[in-house]
Assembly symmetry: C3
Homo-oligomer: 341 residues x 3
């Protein structure tokens, strides 16, 4: 019984945060254009777990600042996955909270990052975004037995499938940004990490959540987070910094550190742990720090695992670590849930 | 509660379709030779989800038409997995419905397709078929929490394990039909797709469910489906055609399209959606079409993922897509279950 | 209801075997040094599923006999994972039974086997051992729905992640013992298997559970098992022999057989089946033998699957096979549970 309550708390915290004033009595009623726009912007905000349309708008600005085509991709993907959810008659509160938007946003940006644009590719993006909605619903059903959230797993799985498939589809062309397929080999320490590496890595780590290699975009994202939650903003910066520091300590490539590659998964893990599930004490802080450090190690591992396929790790390390740490938490009595008190 | 009912409906529809007149009061009583033969033929029919012994018999004829040794393989595999289920005391109604036969049939045909026959290999086939029965039971227990069926997952997993293991076993020799192990690389459009490509692909797509690259065998299978269900027969043809069309649109290799490689998974997905779970409306038709199109994309992806291992995708795309779409469906209010009304 | 009872029996048998005289009323009370030492030794014993501190001590002696550094690794790993469990406030009876020790022991020995020792590596080992505790708790929560145990899955997953990550970390250096990354290719029969191959393989198979390629260490381990359980001791030897015989029959490399590579997973599977869950009858003995033989095949398969990543199979075959056979067992009426009678 205790576990059930704890899990119900997780679910409730994750799934419903925005239902103020919503009439959910008729899920199939047509939605007003304004509330649809709101759902889309919240969907963009949910890429960093923020159910806030202003934050979503600022994230969109940050992407457009660095790349117009990827900004368009974010809009198309979020629109397509949110519209699919509405057309199939999904729970209105979930749609309104942006839960069916963020995976669509990410899959669209990933496909247009890795594949040369064209009419066929835009159709492919819409198809992939629709698939993230199916997979989100499937994972919600699967994971509700444990009360843990789907996170960006639909994005990771759908992107890998749709990019891998391009190896069989002659009309889809890679942009050349994908990692070269190869067998893993031993690393050597390359480049010298300086204060500038860490500063740049700090902000690009935040920007890389949306595949943007720009420190300015990272700063815009930080502002977006600040509007929604000071805790999330601080956690994002701390997570990005810790990812870079772990990578530096272990002797990772300097270029990878400054590009934010080791940061973006740690940013997301840190934001999850900043949400106040646990009473603040030594154990919960140590637990969160362990999660962030492990995320950096798992990022290195997942990028090595995916090397023979020529695929990037995306946010798979974040998903794996947060699932494990949330599943494990009810067994640790020193981690007391705030809401369970 | 609503979810539970919906899932129970799935389970019931999938698992029990043939228990008319069965005495299940004593699972351990000896089975008559005739009812055992009936279980075996239904097991062959279940390869395309048909609980019908006549259909199973026609499928067997279709395989023998194209290859005597693979016809023998189908018999041995279905016998071995069904007998294992009976000897261990499995629920008689499930055995009678052929649920412990189809994975055995498929694993046997796959092993004798990929490995040079010999006494050792026949023993290996029987061992593998017995393992599919264990795995079927394991997956039934695992998946019953969500009320979704195991499908051909035991076949996929067991075949991959037993073929991969041959890389360590010097007395097992590959037939040379396995894909060459290699790293994924970019595709180009190869060959010109004509009406004859599509016509041949249409029927070989159905035949490839049993690893048969023969349009005539495909036509025999279509007749077998027609006996059991007009809806399944139409869905199989539509699925095969859609798989070929998606592959064509995306620029897949002409030879792969005409060989039915893009068809067989779509055939199986389409048959599942033809079974009348959902009330027929725009949403349910669109949902089914989306599932079939996604199956073709995931087939391309899975064959790329398995390339470094030199392994074929088998029916893994069908299993993945159907699991996801069934898990997701209760969250979509526009998809109303027929049986839940 | 019947299933629930059966599963509860599994859980109870696996999880609590040592709570005699424990005061579990306060999980957060400080633990005495002696009971902590006892937990650590039981953790080492649990590597072969023995909740017995004497057995754990003898296993430790066996490792030290062959390698001082790996003996130290076992101590550090078990200490670190057990201490993490205590600091986070885990159920005291589980900690006392060594359930939070064995994965830490194994991950530490694996990392110091595959990576050159150094201060950074020792920190890495402690981090990895702490992660096995999180993953153990996570899997316990995940798997309790089916009442099956986590086994060494936390060790397998954590080791793969932490060793794979070294491909990105320039300050971690491989010892050169890892398999060379490559694409799977056909095997030929190499070397001639003699009575000496089988005798050596019999004992090194037991030793390889702790990564020790020494027949003497294997004999010490056998003595350790004998102290705890005659059934476990006999099962370990039978499992090791069967693994070697299956490998021989299939034409595996002679050097792999004599090194115990085909034995250690079969040892563990056999020990699980020796624990008396099922009433002893023809079906349950056949079921156990099928599990052991399948473990040898899956070992060959997993080592081929992991070849492109240059990673070893570890105990993944044992985990997969035991999960499948335990999940499946309630559906087989001829396998009657002892405790359910």
């Amino acid at each position: 019984m205790k576990f059930v309550n704890i899990y119900a708390t997780f679910s409730a915290l994750f799934a419903r945060m925005s239902s103020t004033g919503l009439d959910t009595s008729n899920e199939l009623a047509p939605q007003s254009p304004l509330s649809f726009l709101d759902s889309v912007l919240r969907g963009i905000g949910q890429v960093m777990l923020q159910n806030n349309s202003y934050t979503g708008f600022i994230f969109l600005v940050g992407v457009f600042y660095n790349s117009v085509i990827l900004g368009i991709a974010v809009l198309i993907g979020t629109l397509a996955s949110t519209a699919t959810a509405i057309l199939l008659g999904t729970d209105r509160a979930d749609v309104r909270a942006g839960l069916f938007g963020f995976n669509g946003a990410l899959v669209a940006i990933a496909l247009l990052y890795f594949l040369e644009p064209g009419i066929l590719v835009f159709g492919y993006v819409v198809l992939a975004a629709a698939c993230t909605t199916i997979m989100m619903a499937a994972l919600m059903t699967f994971l509700e037995k444990w009360g843990i959230p789907a996170l960006t797993a639909p994005f990771v799985f759908t992107t890998l499938m749709f990019v891998l498939a391009s190896a069989r589809f002659g009309r889809l062309h890679s942009t050349g940004i994908l990692p070269t397929a190869g067998l893993p080999k031993a690393a050597t320490v390359e480049g010298i990490v300086t204060a500038s590496t860490l500063t740049e890595g700090l902000f690009t780590g935040v920007a890389q959540v949306f595949f943007q290699g720009s420190a300015i975009t990272g700063i815009i994202f930080v502002v977006g987070l600040l509007i929604s939650s000071r805790a999330a903003c601080g956690a994002a910066l701390l997570g990005s910094l810790m990812g870079a520091l772990v990578a530096w300590a272990m002797g990772a490539d300097e270029a990878a550190i400054s590009s934010g590659a080791f940061g973006f998964n740690c940013v997301l893990t840190a934001i999850v742990f900043s949400r106040g599930f646990f009473v603040l004490n030594v154990a919960s802080v140590a637990y969160g720090l362990l999660a962030v450090v492990s995320t950096a190690v798992v990022f290195a591992a997942m990028s090595a695992v995916l090397e023979p396929f020529g695929m990037p790790a995306l946010t798979s390390p974040f998903v794996l670590i947060v699932w494990l740490f949330l599943l494990a938490s009810p067994r640790f009595l020193r981690l007391r849930m705030v809401a369970a008190q």
